[in-house]
């Protein structure tokens, strides 16, 4: 023990010396002049000709919102790949009733990690990626209100991911730290009683991602309130910034609560407190705290994607967003209502039936603002001049999947139905229609729509359409099969399902599981095409000649971020930039359709 202590001390000492050495190489802090003195502005130093340092240093030290957006995006896509591979393993395992490829413990571990990875390491960061890059451009700000806090918020994420996945790295070493098997909801008493320190690591990682999200949210609120350009008012603030503002407010109220609940769980696990013990708050306390965060989290994840969809659909329908004001109002309404529905996750816990009824009423009420949005998107497209570009296809896919995910949600919000379907695959199918079919699709729509801006290139259209159609078919096959599995009574989370035939129709259940797995294969192929297209077009695609790749000027919808891009292209040509490759996208074809 003392040896370990000594080794750790030496290691930490070395780390600190290394950090100090790196810092002294990078930074001469004697050169700092207090800003109040007026001499600290970059221009007066006489060395600030270039905007950013070169190489890896640029990315490790950047505080530019666009660079940080790119870092968030890269991080989110890596996390999406990790979470996706975990999901694929889950689906492979469930091809046969006894479990096809992996052990039950490992299944539990990847089931836990898949959920946390997709929600906290992919979902929140991919939204932060879009928001960091585009909100300042859309509102005419120079940068975020607090650029350094922005960078801190991002850099908390990589240690968070390493901690959350830490158990997978340490399990093969045989040092007694395995991946957590608590499921993403971390229900007590299970999560208190699992002695594995991997659970602590995961909780700490989750705490760090929560701190990161909170810092980001404060930054977005401050930016949207104080950094708007002179011509951007509350009346003409774009829909994406509205959703980011609402989302940030939700984060501000929800994430600190998750952080506190996690700290209490860590204290219960390590320091013998009794917050969630029977003699303390009881295990229901965790469920209340967790879902008071957890349900707003759903809207934290879905509102900005709705903003992207509301932004993109009009561009390819040739008309303005129908009922802009009502979409903003419905966003705010969802934001407020989202804090009054958490106990619909707990209808079968034996809570007071009168409370249950009130939570049912509020949960069903959320269908109203959601439907307002859905009808507004449909009406925007109605009689419009539709152009089925890839971002538009993903938006239409969003609307379609959101309707299925939403309607199944209305059923689940109803107490008597929930009592039958609770903890079955119906719930899994329902929320995957939202998180993959809607949120995932909107993320793809955003990535394709803004691809020309952040890469200066154009993606390959045919591959992108393959990506859409494989994703659409794969999503619907996989998650519709799950709805059917739920009706058959298949409980969620199980690693195997070799039931007694008297309990459930095993042949049918196996068939639907296999269908869901076929859907997963289709999804995987689609995502491989996406990654190839994304990387290949970015590295080798021809530069875009026009700042208006979507012909937005034609319908007077050339928005601020494309304005910015146009200015950037013009400046690049003016100072003899290397943009001499003026081929249009797709090998000479016009990019608009």
């Amino acid at each position: 023990m003392a040896g370990e202590q000594l080794a750790l001390t030496v290691l930490m000492g070395l780390l600190l010396v290394l950090v100090a050495a790196v810092l002294t190489r990078l930074e001469d802090w004697r050169s700092y002049t207090p800003l109040a003195g007026g001499a600290g502005a970059a221009g007066e130093v006489g060395h600030a000709h270039e905007e950013k340092p070169g190489g890896i240093t640029r990315w490790l030290t950047t505080v530019d919102h666009k660079d940080i957006g790119m870092l968030y995006g890269t991080y989110a896509i890596i996390a999406f790949a990790v979470g996706g591979i975990m999901a694929f393993l889950i689906r492979l395992q469930l091809i046969s009733p006894d479990g096809a490829i992996i052990g039950n413990q490992f299944y539990n571990a990847i089931l836990t990690s898949h959920g946390i990875t997709m929600l906290f390491l992919f979902g929140t960061p991919i939204i932060a990626a879009f928001a960091n890059y585009f909100v300042p451009l859309l509102i005419g700000a120079d940068d975020m209100a607090f650029p350094r806090i922005n960078a801190i918020a991002f850099w908390l994420l990589p240690p968070g991911a390493l901690l959350i996945w830490g158990g997978f790295f340490t399990a093969p070493l045989g040092i007694g730290i395995d991946a957590a098997q608590t499921s993403w909801t971390m229900y007590t008493p299970l999560s208190v009683e699992q002695a594995n320190p991997g659970v602590d690591l995961m909780l700490l990682g989750l705490h760090l991602t929560g701190v990161s999200a909170t810092m980001g949210a404060i930054n977005f609120i401050a930016t949207i309130f104080t950094e708007r350009g002179d011509d951007v008012t509350w009346a003409n603030l774009d829909i994406f910034s509205w959703t980011i503002l609402t989302q940030s407010a939700l984060i501000l109220f929800a994430f600190p609560l998750l952080g506190s609940a996690i700290v209490m769980l860590l204290l219960d696990r390590n320091l013998a407190t009794t917050f969630y013990a029977v003699e303390g708050g009881g295990s229901m306390l965790w469920q209340h705290l967790f879902w008071f965060f957890g349900h707003p989290e759903v809207y934290i994840l879905v509102l900005p994607p709705m903003g992207i969809v509301s932004l993109v659909i009009p561009k390819f329908s040739g008309r303005k967003l129908f009922g802009f004001k009502f979409i903003v109002y419905s966003t705010l309404a969802i934001g407020v209502l989202s804090f009054g529905v958490w106990a619909h996750h707990m209808f079968t816990t034996g809570m007071d039936p009168r409370l249950r009824a009130s939570f049912m009423a509020v949960s069903i009420a959320i269908a109203i603002p959601s439907a307002v949005k859905t009808f507004n998107w449909i009406t925007t497209m109605w009689n419009g001049r539709l152009r089925l570009t890839t971002p538009m296809l993903f938006c239409i896919g969003f609307v379609s999947n959101f309707i299925i995910g939403g309607v199944t949600g209305v059923f689940l919000a109803s107490v008597p139905i929930d009592q039958i379907l609770h903890d079955t695959y119906y719930v899994v199918g329902h929320f995957h229609y939202i998180v993959m079919g809607a949120i995932g699709f909107a993320a793809f729509a955003g990535l394709y729509y803004w691809f020309p801006i952040f890469t200066g290139k154009m993606y390959q259209r045919t591959l992108a359409k393959w990506h859409f159609w494989l994703s659409m078919i794969g999503t619907n096959l996989t998650f519709f099969a799950m709805l059917a599995l739920g009706y058959l009574g298949m409980p969620r989370r199980y690693a195997t399902y070799a039931f007694d035939g008297a309990i459930a129709p095993l042949a049918q259940i196996t068939l639907y599981h296999q269908l869901a797995s076929v859907g997963a294969v289709i999804l995987l192929v689609g995502q491989l095409i996406f990654v190839w297209n994304f990387v290949n077009s970015w590295l080798e695609g021809p530069a875009t000649a026009s700042a208006d790749p979507w012909n937005l000027k034609e319908t007077d919808q050339f928005t601020k971020e494309f304005d910015w891009y146009e200015r950037k292209l013009e400046t690049a040509i003016a100072d003899g930039g290397d943009d001499d490759d003026t081929l249009v996208a797709d090998g000479g074809e016009s990019v608009d359709e």
Partner: protein, 147 residues
């Protein structure tokens, strides 16, 4: 200062500190909660140092060493409060301060034997180190003329 500008003087959109603030926070959380004494102390030092650095860089404070010492004082106080929940400090100092010192040094020697006390002492030790370093730095900075 024009002779040898630092990174964040040369480039308006660069700062070396955020990465280390995040790393410091992550290490101190892991160290404190997992009961790893050296990691907790090192993490808190890194956190305190980089917070002082970033505040200095962005012009919120004029003297980083003083901020470092102040943060150290805050941590030390916080740690003492945690230690105070386990040991009756007032009585112990009044009756036998040497024995108290012995106990606390024993905790530092084998912190993993003590749950709350070990963690509290990690925060105290980190805070005292920062106080000492920050104090010394302040004095040295005062004796050398500012550029």
């Amino acid at each position: 200062m024009d002779e040898q500008p630092g990174l964040s003087d040369q480039y308006r959109m660069a700062s070396p500190w955020p990465l280390f603030v995040a790393l410091g926070l992550a290490l101190s959380e892991v160290g404190i909660f997992m009961g790893l004494f050296p990691v907790a102390v090192g993490g808190l030092l890194l956190l305190g140092g980089s917070v002082s650095g970033i505040l200095r860089e962005s012009g919120y404070v004029a003297r980083p060493w003083r901020t470092f010492a102040q943060l150290g004082g805050f941590f030390a106080l916080l740690g003492v409060i945690v230690v105070g929940t386990q040991v009756d400090l007032v009585t112990a100092i009044g009756t036998d301060p040497l024995a108290l010192m012995g106990t606390l040094l024993g905790v530092v020697e084998r912190p993993s034997n003590y749950a709350v006390l070990g963690r509290g002492m990690a925060v105290v030790v980190a805070g005292l180190m920062m106080l000492a370093a920050g104090g010394t730095g302040s004095l040295m900075a005062r004796s050398t003329p500012q550029p």
